[in-house]
């Protein structure tokens, strides 16, 4: 179905506005039903400082699907588990 067909079905004449709304709709679809999955890899660094275990999530992320770590013994990426709370014995995390 083309953008034009969508516009005709909805009774719209403004193309740019229609394209923007279609993008919003796809954004919502990706948020709830995950039609198209993307992956991003980054290096893990050996921690020597306080923030070395902090990694930035992909800026274009809508919904997180999974986090995996490369198991270097067999070269495969394996999903890891999420911890709900940050380790409670730390008040300020300043050392690896």
């Amino acid at each position: 179905m083309t953008v034009l067909e969508i516009m005709e079905r909805a009774g719209l004449k403004e193309t740019n506005l229609s394209v923007a709304w279609v993008k919003d709709a796809i954004h919502l679809i990706q948020s709830s039903s995950k039609q198209k999955i993307k992956s991003r890899k980054q290096d893990i660094i050996k921690s020597v400082g306080s923030d070395d275990n902090v990694y930035i999530m992909p800026p274009d992320m809508i919904a997180l699907e999974s986090i995996s770590i490369k198991d270097t013994s067999d070269g495969k990426y394996k999903k890891i588990k999420r911890i709900i709370n940050q380790p409670s014995y730390l008040t300020e995390d300043t050392s690896p």
């Binding site: 229609s18 796809i26 709830s32 999955i37 990694y55 770590i69 999420r82 940050q86």
Partner: protein, 235 residues
């Protein structure tokens, strides 16, 4: 070297940050020195203690390729065989079968394709032209073609071709199937109703939108439910 990562690595989400932890005292091939004392307290966590190239993989959804050049339902060209070879010279993907690419498989110039099963040429390409006697060669671009002889079972599948944001027009297609396109129509109608101040109609179409999303998900799941009926149940 990292072992048993699924059991010994954990992540914590803090806003837009991902914090990695590793189980202290987990699997390692590092020998503990005579002078060193490993102090472990059960489930204590530590920061990752090794460098791993491309070690963290995040899988997520994003607004990538929201518009494509043709409807998903028409991207059906497909070819497979054990006689497909690759040549760096001329960026060719070849087969010995006459008109295998254009007639048998249904590819046309401009299609985006995905190669799978090859030793060194898996990836996405765009078809630039067909050539050779009976169009046995497919000239491609988009990724580097490495010389590879026939032998492996290789599949070539047409995939949707993205329309970049600057080029999106009325002839572009949303990168979703027909069912979800109908949901998109409902969403656009809802937004139009909202712009006109008709909130009741907006609510109606938003409900329709999510109903169609649910239908689309339900169509992927083959679930049957049956309930035993009691001996004296009214039927």
């Amino acid at each position: 070297m990292s072992y048993n990562v699924s059991e010994e690595w954990y992540y914590y989400l803090r806003g837009r940050e991902l914090i990695l932890y590793q189980l202290l005292g987990g699997s390692s091939n590092t020998r503990i020195s005579q002078s060193g004392v490993l102090r472990s307290r059960g489930t204590e966590l530590m920061y990752p203690n090794e460098n791993i190239e491309d070690g963290l993989r995040v899988e997520y959804t994003s607004l990538n390729e929201p518009f494509v050049a043709e409807a998903l339902e028409t991207t059906t060209a497909y070819g497979s065989g054990i006689n497909i070879s690759f040549a760096n010279s001329g960026a060719r993907i070849s087969t010995a079968i006459a008109n295998f690419w254009d007639t048998t498989s249904g590819f046309v110039v401009g299609d985006k394709i995905r190669v799978q099963g090859s030793t060194s040429n898996d990836g996405d390409y765009t078809i630039d032209s067909f050539g050779g006697g009976s169009n046995v060669n497919m000239v491609v671009s988009g990724s580097t073609v490495t010389d590879e002889a026939a032998g492996e079972r290789i599949t070539v599948t047409q995939i949707p071709k993205e329309v970049v944001s600057a080029s999106v027009s009325e002839t572009s297609h949303p990168n979703v199937n027909q069912g979800l396109c109908l949901a998109v129509v409902d969403y656009v109608k809802a937004m139009k109703a909202e712009a006109e101040g008709d909130l009741t109609t907006k609510e109606y179409y938003i409900k329709e939108f999510y109903s169609k999303l649910g239908d689309n998900e339900g169509n992927k799941r083959k679930i049957s439910m049956s309930f035993p009926s009691a001996p004296y149940a009214v039927r």
